[in-house]
C-alpha cells in the first residue's frame, strides 16, 4: 500500500519533470501551471506513502537510505511548493522538480526492507536530528536550482542575448534574494542537525563527536554555507559568486548524503 503511493508520487514527479523540461524549450509566454499542480499531487501522495510506512514499521521511516532519500525529496518538494506560491515564478519548477525527481529515483532504486532500529538508536533524537538535517539539505538543494537559474540569467544579461529563456526567467535580484533566504533558512537547520546529532551520539554511544565520515562531511558542508553567509554579510559578495558557492555547497550536500554511504564506511545507515 505504502509502496503503491510511493510509486504514484514518483510518477507525478516524473511527469512534472518532463513537462517542466519541455516548458524550458517552448517559446510560450507562461510555463504551464499544470507542472506545479502535478507536483502538489505527487507531494500529497508522497506524504501518504510516508505516513503508511510509519504505521507499518512502527518507527519513524527515516532509518534507511531508501527512506531518508524519500524524505529528502519530500522536504525539497515542500520547499519548492512554498516558494512557488510565495514568489509565483512559473519557470522555477523546470529547475527544481528534476532535482526532486532524481532524489526520489535514487530512493526508488535502493533496497526497501524495513530494518528495526537497534535499541541504542531508539530515541526521539531521531525525529529532530533527521528533520533538521533534511529540511536543511532540501533548502540547499532548492538554493542550488535557483543559483543555476541566476547564472543562466546573469549570462544572458552580460552576453546581451535577450531572447528565449531570458524573457521567462525572473529578474536576477529576486533570484539572488531567494537563494540567500534559502541559505539563511537552511543553515540554522543544519547547525541544529549537527548539534542534535552530537547530543544523540553522546546519548547512544557516549561521545559527542567521533570524526565519522558523515560527521566530517556535514561539518565541511556547514563550513561552506557559513562561508557563503559570512562573505555575503561582511564582504558583500552577492550575485554570481554567491551562486557559484551555492553550487559548491550543494555538491558537498550530495556527497554528505550519498557519497559518504556508498564510498566511505560510516556508522550512519542513512
Amino acid at each position: 500500500m505504502g509502496t503503491l503511493f510511493f510509486e504514484f508520487a514518483l510518477t507525478c514527479y516524473f511527469a512534472a519533470t518532463i513537462i517542466g523540461i519541455i516548458d524550458l524549450f517552448r517559446g510560450q509566454k507562461e510555463p504551464s501551471p499544470i507542472v506545479v499542480w502535478i507536483t502538489a499531487a505527487g507531494f500529497m501522495l508522497h506524504l501518504a506513502a510516508i505516513i503508511i510506512r510509519y504505521a507499518v514499521a512502527g518507527q519513524i521511516p527515516i532509518t534507511s537510505m531508501h527512506e531518508s532519500a524519500s524524505f529528502f525529496a519530500w522536504c525539497t518538494a515542500l520547499i519548492y511548493l512554498v516558494l512557488h506560491f510565495r514568489y509565483r515564478i512559473g519557470i522555477l519548477g523546470s529547475f527544481i522538480i528534476p532535482l526532486i525527481f532524481l532524489i526520489m529515483l535514487a530512493s526508488a532504486m535502493l533496497p526497501r526492507v524495513i530494518k528495526p532500529l537497534t535499541p541504542a538508536l531508539q530515541s526521539s533524537w531521531l525525529l529532530f536530528h533527521t528533520t533538521f538535517a533534511f529540511l536543511g539539505f532540501a533548502a540547499f538543494t532548492v538554493a542550488f536550482g535557483v543559483g543555476v537559474m541566476y547564472l543562466i540569467q546573469e549570462h544572458h544579461l552580460k552576453a546581451k542575448r535577450l531572447t528565449g529563456l531570458f524573457q521567462r526567467l525572473p529578474d536576477i535580484q529576486v533570484l539572488d534574494e531567494i537563494s540567500y533566504r534559502l541559505i539563511t533558512f537552511g543553515f540554522p537547520l543544519l547547525t541544529l542537525a549537527i548539534i542534535t546529532g552530537a547530543l544523540w551520539a553522546q546519548d547512544a554511544w557516549g561521545t559527542y563527536w567521533r570524526w565519522d565520515p558523515k560527521e566530517t562531511w556535514s561539518l565541511i558542508t556547514w563550513i561552506i554555507y557559513a562561508m557563503v553567509l559570512h562573505i555575503r554579510l561582511v564582504v558583500g559578495w552577492r550575485g554570481r559568486r554567491a551562486a557559484l558557492l551555492c553550487i559548491v555547497g550543494f555538491l558537498a550536500v550530495l556527497f554528505t548524503f550519498f557519497g559518504v554511504n556508498f564510498l566511505l564506511k560510516s556508522v550512519h545507515s542513512f
Binding site: 517559446g27 509566454k29 540569467q153 544579461l157 552580460k158 546581451k160 535577450l162 531572447t163 531570458f166 524573457q167 526567467l169 525572473p170 529578474d171 536576477i172 535580484q173 529576486v174 534574494e177 564582504v235 558583500g236 559578495w237 552577492r238 550575485g239 554570481r240 559568486r241
Partner: protein, 423 residues
C-alpha cells in the same frame, strides 16, 4: 452582397491628407449617418484615428458603392476627389475581411503589434452598433476580428518585447531589479534619448532621480522636469555609490568612468547591482566595466541590437499571424457564403425530404403488411405536407429586399441549418 473597405492609412497617405479626411468629434456621427444613407451601402462603420481613416461597409455592389463612398468623402470634406483618390485603397470581400482582421491584429500598424488599434476598432463598431448603422454582417465581422486578434496575441509573440530603445532599457532594468520604485537613477549629461529613457523609468515607478549636467542651468531645468535632485557635475563619481541605474550621455570625448573607478565603487556599494546605459557616441563608459560582477553595461548600440532582434522576432511572428488570419478569413467567407439564399433553400428542402424519408421508412418497417400502393399514397401525403410547410419560408428566402439577412439567419436557426462550425 459584399463587404467593402475604403480607406487610407499612414502608409498610403501623407499627414495632410489624413487630417483632411479625418472625422473628428461631431463629424463622426454625421459622416457615419451619411455613409449609411448611400444607396448601395447596406451597413456601415467608420474608423478615424490619427493614422487611418477607414470605412467598413456591407454593400449591394462593390464598384458602385465604392464610387458613392469616394464621392461622399469629397463632398463631406470639401476636397476634390483627385486630391486624395490616389491615397485610398479599396478592398472587396475576402480582401476586405483580411484587411479588417489584419488591422485588428495590429499587423497593419506603424509599430506592428501595438495594442491600441484593437480598442479603437472596437469603439468604432460599438459606436456604429448604438447608432444602428450595422447589421448581422458587420457585427459578425467585428466579433470575428476581435477573436482573431486575440488568437494572434495568444498564439504568437507579436506584442512582446520592446521595439524602441528607451523601452528596451526599461525592460532590461526590470530583469535586473525586482522593484524599480526603490532604485535611484542618475542622468549624467542630457540628450533626447537619455531623457526619454529616464522618463520611461519614471513612468515605471522610479522615484529617486538625480541629474548631473555640465551646465548648471540645464541641470536645474531637467531636475524640475523630473522632480529630481540636481547634482554638481564634478560629484558624479561620489554619487555612484548610491545610484542603481546610470544613464550617461555627456558628449565627452573620453571615458568618464573607468574600470578601476567602478571597481572601487562596487566595493563601496557592497556589490549591489548597477545598470549602466551609455547613450553617448563616442562611448563615455569604459566597455571593460561590463566584465565586473553585478555591473551591467549597455551601450546604445547594444540596445539598438536588442530592438532590431525584437523587430525581427515580430516580423517572424507576423508571418505566423498571417496564417491564423488566412484561416479565419476562410471561415468567415464560408459563413458569408452560407448567407446566400439558394444553397439555404436547397439545404432546407434536403433536410425536410430527409426527415420525411426517414419517418416513412420507420413506419413501413413497423407495419410489414403494407402493400406498395398504400406506401405510395402515404409518401404522396407526406410530400404534400412537407411542400406546403416549406412554401412560405422559400418565398421569404427568395425575396431580395427588406430584412433578407435577418430572415436568412432566422430560417437557419429555427431549422437547425447553421453550417457555422464554431458556434
Amino acid at each position: 452582397m459584399g463587404i467593402l473597405v475604403v480607406g487610407l492609412n499612414h502608409k498610403t497617405a501623407s499627414v495632410d491628407i489624413r487630417e483632411r479626411l479625418a472625422f473628428n468629434g461631431p463629424k463622426l456621427e454625421e459622416g457615419l449617418r451619411g455613409l449609411h444613407a448611400l444607396p448601395d451601402v447596406h451597413e456601415a462603420a467608420l474608423l478615424s484615428t490619427c493614422n487611418r481613416v477607414e470605412i467598413y461597409a456591407s454593400v449591394r455592389a462593390a464598384d458602385s458603392a465604392a464610387d458613392q463612398i469616394k464621392e461622399y468623402l469629397a463632398a463631406f470634406h470639401g476636397a476634390p476627389r483627385a486630391e486624395f483618390e490616389a491615397s485610398l485603397y479599396c478592398h472587396v470581400d475576402a480582401d476586405a475581411i483580411r484587411h479588417v482582421f489584419r488591422v485588428a491584429a495590429s499587423l497593419d500598424s506603424m509599430v506592428v503589434g501595438e495594442p491600441q488599434i484593437l480598442g479603437q476598432l472596437k469603439d468604432t463598431f460599438d459606436y456604429a452598433l448604438t447608432r444602428k448603422t450595422t447589421g448581422i454582417i458587420l457585427n459578425r465581422l467585428m466579433k470575428k476580428a476581435i477573436s482573431t486578434a486575440k488568437r494572434v496575441r495568444n498564439e504568437t509573440h507579436i506584442a512582446e518585447n520592446a521595439v524602441s530603445i528607451s523601452f528596451a532599457a526599461v525592460e532590461l532594468a526590470r530583469k535586473i531589479f525586482t522593484e524599480l520604485s526603490t532604485k535611484a537613477v542618475m542622468l549624467l549629461g542630457a540628450g533626447e534619448m537619455a531623457e526619454l529613457a529616464a522618463r520611461h523609468l519614471v513612468t515605471n515607478g522610479v522615484q529617486n532621480i538625480r541629474i548631473a549636467n555640465r551646465t548648471y542651468e540645464r541641470c536645474c531645468e531637467l531636475a524640475e522636469e523630473f522632480c529630481g535632485m540636481p547634482v554638481r557635475f564634478d560629484d558624479y563619481l561620489s554619487q555612484m555609490v548610491n545610484v542603481d541605474i546610470l544613464i550617461c550621455s555627456t558628449g565627452a570625448p573620453t571615458y568618464v568612468l573607468l574600470k578601476d573607478q567602478m571597481q572601487k565603487i562596487m566595493r563601496e556599494r557592497r556589490n549591489r547591482p548597477v545598470f549602466i546605459i551609455d547613450i553617448s557616441v563616442p562611448r563615455n563608459i569604459d566597455p571593460a566595466i561590463n566584465d565586473l560582477d553585478n555591473v551591467y553595461l549597455y551601450h546604445v548600440d547594444d540596445l539598438q541590437q536588442v530592438v532590431d532582434t525584437n523587430k525581427q522576432e515580430r516580423q517572424k511572428e507576423a508571418a505566423k499571424a498571417e496564417e491564423i488570419i488566412h484561416e479565419e478569413v476562410g471561415k468567415f467567407e464560408r459563413w458569408l457564403a452560407s448567407l446566400d439564399s439558394v444553397p439555404l433553400i436547397v439545404a432546407l428542402r434536403d433536410k425536410a425530404t430527409g426527415i420525411k424519408q426517414d419517418e416513412l421508412e420507420k413506419f413501413v418497417a413497423k407495419h410489414p403488411g403494407l402493400d406498395q400502393q398504400t406506401i405510395a399514397e402515404i409518401d404522396y401525403l407526406l410530400s404534400a405536407v412537407v411542400n406546403k410547410m416549406l412554401h412560405y419560408p422559400t418565398v421569404a428566402l427568395k425575396e431580395t429586399n427588406g430584412d433578407r439577412d435577418a430572415v436568412l439567419s432566422v430560417v437557419k436557426k429555427i431549422y437547425g441549418l447553421n453550417g457555422d462550425d464554431d458556434e
